[in-house]
Subunit: 311 residues, 2 copies
DNA sequence: CAGGTAGCATAATTTATACTTATTCAATAA
DNA sequence: TTATTGAATAAGTATAAATTATGCTACCTG
C-alpha cells in the first residue's frame, strides 16, 4: 500500500539535510515530530531508511532509492502548483472554442490569426459542431467556451439558463433574401403576406424553424407548410441558390452585406422591426473565465464590431 | 507553498473517476470526507479544480494540469515502494565494497568475476583506500561494507567496536621474510634476537608498527629503532626487494606461498606461535546486511578458504 | 573525569484535523 | 408528484499529529 504522502515530504527534508533536527526547523516542526514521521514511514514501507549512529543518521540504500523517487516530484510540485494557481499576467495557452460551422468558418480564421499577432503564446482548438454537441462538450469540460446563437441553441440551453453564463457577442439580423431578378420577376417587388407565402424557399435545415419564426414575427401567422424547393445543409450552397435566383432563403445579414450594397440580393423587410439573433459566448456558469478567455472574447467582440461598421 | 500531499491522492482518484462518490468508495472514505479534501486542496492551491454542475463535477484546466503532474507519481509509487521494501529473493544490484589496496588488488578481481558467473545481476564498486578513509566512507553510508584487517584498522575502529559488526573473513600470518641467499649469507641461518635485530629491514609504512609488534610477539621486547634500509609504499615493490636479497620484511604468508614452497624465500619463525592478523568484513552495526551482501560475503569466504587450502 | 552539549528516541499530553453521521439542496428519473 | 442521485454543509467524534518533557549515548571541554 501507499504510504502517507506527507511523510515523504518529511523524509525528503531529512534525507536532504541528513539531520532530523535541521529538517524539523525547515518543516516548522519539532525534532520529535520528525522522528515519529520517519519511524512511521519506515513501518509503512517495512524498510529501514536511516541507520541511527549515535548522533548522526546514515541513509540506507532503500533511502537512496526512495529519495531518487520523491525528489523530482517534491521539487517540481511547488513551482508547478505555483504556475497552476498564479493568475496569468498575459494571455497564453490553449483556447478550446466551439462554434457553429457557418459562423466559425467565416470569422475564426481571420480573427484568431489577428489575435495571435498580438498574443503569440495563445493557441487554438476550434470545434465546429452542431449546437447540442457543443453544449455537450461544454458540459464535459472539453471546451473553454462556445459561440452559440439564440435560435440554434435555444432548445438546448435556454431551457436551463442557470447552468450557463452568456456573454453577448454580436447580433445578426435574419433576413429573407432573394436575388434581384427573383425579387423583380417572380415577386414583382411585392412583399405582402400572400405573395411571400407562396414563393419558393431554400433552407439549410430540415425543419425551417427560423423561416417559421420570420413569418410569425412579421405577420403573426403560423405557417405549417412552405414550398421548400431545396433543402441543403451547407449555408454556402444555400446562398448560391439564392444568387442563382432559385428562390428565397433566410440568412444572416452580415453574410450578404456586399451583395445587398451592390443590389444583387434583395433583403425583404415587410416592416421595420428586424428578426434579431443574439450570438453569444457561452460558458459554464460556475467557471471563472481566465485572462486568456476574457482577452480573446473582448478582442473577438471588437473585431466583429469593426466588421459590422464596415457595413 | 506545497499542499497537503495526501489530498493529491484524493484528487487523483476523484479526477480519475470524475466522481467524489466513487472516489470515496475507492479510498474507503465517505463522500463528505472526499468533498472536504477537494475543497481544502482547492483553497491550498488557490485554484478551483472542479466545476460543480448539479450532479456532476467537471475538471477545470488547472485540474487537468495537476492531474498530469500527480498521475505518474501516484501510479509509480506503489510498485516502486514495493520494490524497495520487498525482501530480495536473489542477489542483485550494486555492491559497494571497500578494501585495503594490497588485499583488494590480490583477491577482488578473480572472486568478483567468479561471483558474477553465478549471480550476474550483481555489480561492484570496489574502493581501494586507506583503512581510515574506508571507515569514514562506511560511516557516511558510501560503502555497504569494507574488508579490513586488525592491524591497519585497529586505531580507527577497534577503539569504538560498538559501532561495527565484524564478520571474520580469513586469517593471515605475518611472517618476517628474507630471500634464501640473505638468510644463508647474512644471517647464517640464525634466528636469535641478537641476529635478527641487527638485520636490514624493508617496510611499506613509515612507522613499522607491525615489525615492532612482530618483535614484541616473539621476544617481548620493544624495539625503538630498526635498521630500515628501504621504506616503500608499494607492497609489491617491498616483496621485490626481499626477493633481491636486500633485507628482511614483514609480509603476509599467503602472498609468498609459492616462494616459500620453492624455498626461494625463507619465513622466519623464532617460535611456533604465529603473528596472526584477522581480516574481517566490517559493516555498520545497526545495518541489517542484505541478501546480496550476505551471499557475497559467504562466497568470498569460501573462495578464500579454497585458496588457503591450496597452500 | 565531572559537567555540558548535541542529536535522536520515547512517553505522555494536548491540539488539530480527518472522518463520520445527519441533513440539505438541486437535478433527474420514474 | 415522489424517489433517487451526487454533492455541499454542519456538527460531533475519533484519530492522528503536534507538542513538552524526559532519557539516552557519544562527544567535547576544561
Amino acid at each position: 500500500m501507499l504510504p502517507d504522502l506527507n511523510r515523504l515530504k518529511v523524509f525528503y527534508h531529512v534525507y536532504l539535510l541528513q539531520s532530523m533536527n535541521m529538517a524539523a526547523k525547515d518543516l516548522h516542526l519539532t525534532q520529535p515530530g520528525v522522528s515519529q514521521h520517519i519511524k512511521k514511514l519506515e513501518s509503512e514501507i517495512k524498510t529501514s531508511l536511516f541507520i541511527r549512529c549515535h548522533k548522526k543518521i546514515i541513509p540506507t540504500r532503500a533511502a537512496d532509492k526512495l529519495f531518487d523517487m520523491v525528489k523530482p516530484f517534491i521539487e517540481n510540485l511547488g513551482s508547478a502548483i505555483g504556475n497552476i494557481s498564479k493568475p496569468m499576467d498575459h494571455p497564453y495557452g490553449l483556447l478550446r472554442i466551439g462554434a457553429p460551422l457557418e459562423f466559425g468558418k467565416t470569422y475564426f480564421p481571420a480573427i484568431c490569426h489577428a489575435f495571435r499577432k498580438k498574443y503569440n503564446q495563445v493557441t487554438f482548438r476550434i470545434r465546429l459542431e452542431e449546437p447540442d454537441q457543443l453544449l455537450d462538450m461544454l458540459n464535459n469540460g472539453l471546451l473553454d467556451f462556445a459561440v452559440l446563437d439564440y435560435f440554434s441553441a435555444k432548445d438546448q440551453f435556454f431551457g436551463r439558463p442557470e447552468l450557463y453564463k452568456i456573454e453577448p457577442l454580436a447580433e445578426e439580423i435574419f433576413v429573407l433574401a432573394g436575388s434581384k431578378e427573383y425579387f423583380e420577376n417572380k415577386m414583382k417587388k411585392k412583399v405582402s403576406f400572400e405573395t411571400l407565402v407562396s414563393m419558393d424557399f431554400i433552407t439549410d435545415e430540415h425543419e425551417p424553424v427560423i423561416l417559421k419564426h420570420w413569418f410569425w414575427h412579421y405577420f403573426k401567422k403560423s405557417i405549417s407548410k412552405f414550398n421548400i424547393i431545396m433543402a441543403i445543409e451547407s449555408h454556402q450552397a444555400l446562398l448560391n441558390c439564392v444568387r442563382l435566383g432559385m428562390g428565397l432563403a433566410i440568412t444572416a445579414d452580415h453574410l450578404i452585406w456586399n451583395e445587398i450594397e451592390t443590389g444583387k440580393i434583395i433583403p425583404i423587410f415587410p416592416f421595420k422591426e428586424k428578426v434579431i439573433n443574439k450570438i453569444s459566448f457561452v460558458q459554464l456558469r460556475d467557471k471563472k473565465p481566465t485572462l486568456t478567455e476574457e482577452t480573446f472574447q473582448a478582442f473577438f467582440k471588437k473585431q466583429i464590431k469593426t466588421k459590422e461598421s464596415l457595413k
